[in-house]
């Protein structure tokens, strides 16, 4: 039976963990603490410098393009969902910049209307003529695929603090806990350590709890507590069983 259970465990673990530890996506670490390029933005309020935005409050910068048939729409939708669910009291703005030179402001506004993002006025949509400078300052490298008439790119969210420095980056579609860490980071809250993005988080001890901003226990911690539970279970079982043994010993002595 033990062998069967063991192979089951292996099988279970096999399907949940399939990545070696060193293969993390390091692009999230790129350009950390570098200054974002202070480019001229074209928004519905007219022109402004990017620094005008971050000087008033920290910002999250999302890079998208309106013709995208891939990740851009789900990325923005998920971001707005997560922001709504998180309902953070911290002040910050979201800046969506198109990295496609042929996008116009109205293309972006259409996108906003379609997705229903900017209901509270927290979001700003912008195009810029200096997109290359912006891209390279945050380490974003979209590649034009002429066959599909699409950019080949990753979803990227960049957190900028009030001084214009990149505090944190998130690539791909990410959960609410990462967003919480991002918002703490752009408000210069120090987090002494963090796990690197990798698929293998099954047995980690803690995951970040967005509700409290603290790390909450996950399966790994259960494994850590398991020996205590098992030992106390064993002791209790022995204690109950031992009543019988003591009775037997006493009877034996009485005989």
């Amino acid at each position: 039976m033990c062998k069967g259970l063991f192979s089951l465990l292996i099988l279970f673990l096999f399907y949940t963990n399939v990545q070696a530890q060193s293969e993390y996506n390091f692009s999230e670490e790129e350009n950390i603490n570098a200054k974002i390029a202070d480019v001229q933005l074209n928004t519905s309020d007219g022109g402004m410098m990017l620094s005008n935005l971050y000087n008033t409050s920290p910002i999250l910068v999302a890079l998208v393009f309106s013709r995208c048939t891939g990740i851009c729409s789900p990325f923005l939708l998920q971001l707005s969902d997560n922001i709504r669910t998180l309902n953070s009291k911290e002040k910050f703005k979201v800046l969506v910049v198109s990295f496609d030179p042929i996008d116009s402001l109205s293309d972006l506004e259409d996108m906003d209307n379609r997705l229903g993002l900017n209901k509270k006025g927290q979001w700003t949509f912008a195009t810029t003529k200096q997109i290359d400078a912006l891209n390279s300052s945050v380490g974003f490298r979209p590649i034009w695929d002429s066959l599909r008439k699409q950019f080949d790119h990753d979803a990227l969210l960049v957190g900028i603090n009030e001084n214009g420095y990149i505090a944190k980056k998130l690539t791909g579609l990410r959960g609410i806990s990462d967003l919480k860490m991002m918002i703490q980071s752009i408000h210069n809250e120090f987090i002494p350590s963090y796990p690197l993005p990798r698929k293998n988080n099954l047995l980690s001890c803690f995951t970040y709890d967005p509700a409290t901003g603290k790390r909450k226990p996950s399966i790994g911690l259960l494994i850590l507590v398991l020996p205590v539970v098992l030992t106390f279970g064993l002791i209790l079982w022995l204690a109950i069983r031992s009543k019988k043994w003591r009775r037997a010993t006493n009877n034996h002595l009485a005989d």
Partner: protein
Amino acid sequence: MNDHQFILIIFLAAFIIITAVFFLTYRSSLRPEEKSDGIKKPLQKRFYFLIALTIVLVILLSVTIPKSPYFKYSDQTPAKVVFVDAMQYYFFMSEQAIDPAKPSGADSIIIPVGQPVEFRVTSLDVNHGFGIYNSDAQLVTQTQAMPGYVNRLRWKFDTPGTYHILCLEYCGANHPNMRTSFIVK
């Protein structure tokens, strides 16, 4: 007097006091049998001893806990961020993020004197240590390099010079030779 000397003096003082108490206790037991009068009211004395010990421990706790290294310089923006990827038996250090697929580091790292800097330390294989030693071979500060996690260590170097980094977690046969250095100026 630096931290290390202070720690050693405290320890040696405790060592001498404990040895003296045991020696005197031993001496006191060499008396003739009829004179065995022991300690009066041992229970009461033990109670006072425990109370005194508790008070000392609580004071020590409240003094030392706030000095924990985790949040040093946490309210300041670091003047420089250095990425560190440890790997059997190298430290890659760079001001840019390091690609784990083809890790490489800068030839030399220069840290500004008197300004907070941050080391983002991780490992690409096994657990390593990241111990910063000054030019007098004294351990300044340290953190661990754990695969899958980044530890952020902040520090302010007030003395210019060459600092050495030694691996402080046993990582294999070549562990003592795993080292690098940076310059503070």
